[in-house]
């Protein structure tokens, strides 16, 4: 009798074995993310916006820099195919909004990646190594806070010119410190946790502890703070452009469009409304995606 049962069990396990997979933490994170409807919707929306910004200007009839002095500050209409209306120099607002989106999203992405990477590396190392290294590294952060960014921006632009990557660098220079401080704080708290002590006890080298054990546990705060950094970066870019230190005319960005629109919002509200709506939608999407990612990657939330 037992033999027969054993055989049956063996046959069963042989049959189902191919379909058994271990679940990697990333796969389970992705599943959890997919369950968050707001995050998924935001992701799709963001993709749509990005696609529109990349492809749209090629499909639309107007060029982003052709000024039409007969059609200045026109409200949105079907005639002339100015669906978003025109700005103060008679340029089509829809095209400009999409072109502006390209710049804002690119700057946002690149500057965020750069400053987040720098911030994490800096903060985690400082927090984990501690002692004098921590002190020196954090003093550098203090110094970066104290130096007025306007001054550095003026200097960098005037000495090095106004290439796109320089704008990204300039913004990165002012945006990494918050992340560094937050990460350092979390690291300080984490390093005294048991699993770190355990890793140290078995002799894992410091850099591996930092990058394999500490950093994954920082992800929650990092992700949330990254989604806070993105709007900051995009807005910093608009302030720089406003001061003549960023994107040059006729190129534009959402920040510049919104700034111009805010000046005339009582007279020509659409100049503020459309770019503003797109910017805020994109940023809301970043926020929800960020929250979704945080929830999905939280190692405790299994």
């Amino acid at each position: 009798m037992n033999n027969k049962n054993d055989d049956l069990v063996e046959a069963l396990s042989a049959a189902i074995e191919p379909s058994l997979h271990g679940r990697s933490p990333w796969a389970s994170a992705r599943t959890r993310f997919m369950r968050n409807k707001a995050a998924v919707f935001s992701l799709c929306l963001l993709c749509v916006i990005t696609l529109a910004c990349i492809v749209g200007p090629y499909l639309l009839p107007h060029a982003f820099d052709s000024a039409d002095w007969e059609a200045m500050s026109q409200a949105p209409t079907w005639t002339n195919m100015h669906w978003f209306g025109t700005d103060e120099s008679g340029r089509d607002l829809l095209v400009r909004t999409l072109i502006g989106g390209r710049i804002s999203l690119m700057v946002g992405l690149m500057a965020t990646i750069a400053s987040v990477s720098l911030g994490i590396a800096w903060g985690a190392t400082a927090g984990f190594v501690g002692g004098r290294v921590d002190a020196v590294m954090m003093r550098v952060v203090d110094i970066m806070y104290a130096v007025p960014y306007l001054l550095i921006a003026i200097l960098m632009v005037t000495l090095l010119g106004r290439a796109f990557y320089l704008v990204v660098i300039t913004i990165t220079v002012f945006s990494w410190m918050d992340m560094a401080r937050v990460v350092r704080g979390q690291t300080l708290s984490l390093r005294s946790k048991e699993f770190v002590e355990a890793a140290r006890a078995i002799g894992v080298p410091t850099h591996r502890i930092i990058f394999q054990h500490i950093v994954p546990n920082l992800l929650g705060v990092v992700v949330v703070y990254t989604t806070i950094t993105v709007p900051g970066v995009i807005i910093t870019e608009s302030v720089l452009s406003f001061l003549g230190l960023g994107i040059q005319e006729p190129m534009t960005s959402w920040g510049v469009l919104i700034h111009d629109g805010a000046q005339v919002m009582e007279v020509s509200p659409w100049i503020l409304l459309y770019p503003g709506a797109l910017l805020s939608t994109a940023l809301y999407c970043f926020n929800y995606i960020g929250d979704g990612l945080r929830d999905a990657l939280d190692p405790n939330d299994r």
Binding site: I143, T158, V224, V239, R294, D298, N300
Partner: protein
Amino acid sequence: MWSYALRRLLATIPTLLLVITVCYLLLHFTPGGPFDTEKKVSAAVLANLQEKYHMNEPLWKQYLLYLNSLLHGDLGASFRYEDWSVNELVATALPVSAVIGGVSLLISLLIGVALGSLAALRQNSVVDYLVMFLGSVGSVFPSFVIGPVLVMVFAIWLQWVPSGGWDNFAPRYMVLPMLLLVVLNVATIGRVMRGSMIEVMSSNFIRTARAKGLPQRTVVLRHAMKPALLPVVSLIGPMAISAITSAVITETIFSLPGLGKLIVSGASNRDYTLVLGLVVLVTVITVTFNLLVDLAYALLDPKIRY
């Protein structure tokens, strides 16, 4: 802990020195100087201007002269505001920025922590989404959009408060600027608090507290709050600093005579002494706040030891 604090304060001095040096060099290498004006001046007048401000000396000598006067507490004479010394300018502008920035930060903390906790405790519910949506308004719209909207609604349509200006700390001039700063800061604080509270609520010691049968309120307020506040506390430092020193757009929109205005006009006019003086001030404030924040870490997380 006190020796740690003392060591940090002593470490301020080299930091200060480094910051001053960096800014000093930056200022002198940035094109355009304080005497570049639309009406060109004769060589003799220029020579006298430079002598008046010690700018005819070699760079290193000017640097030492500046450090010397700094030791005596004299931040120098301003180039842009010719009748005033930097000490006087800072003394009048600092209280304005400090009060508006400080009070609005406190209010933002209270509201942000409350909203973030509420959202965390009702994670993924309608309340969560709604609270986060409203709270994020301050992070998706730039200040130069929210500000004018507030002005339009409260000052022009409703005429409840003036659209700007300042009169010796009269409350009606402080309402809108503080409202703007609160709206801007609540977003960040709320989100970070939410994330952190969610993490804490799922940790083991909370589970223990619940298992002990403690009511939710005690669990949250007595046990979860402290560790959850840690990331928020990291933010206070930079937020306080920027609330006080970089509120330029706020000060422009509401015509407030604060520090942000001084920093920008100092940089635009290459007012060397004003910029350096403000940099010294900002460094001192930064270091002090960061120290207070780090000490707060120790209070909140008993495992953190210096």
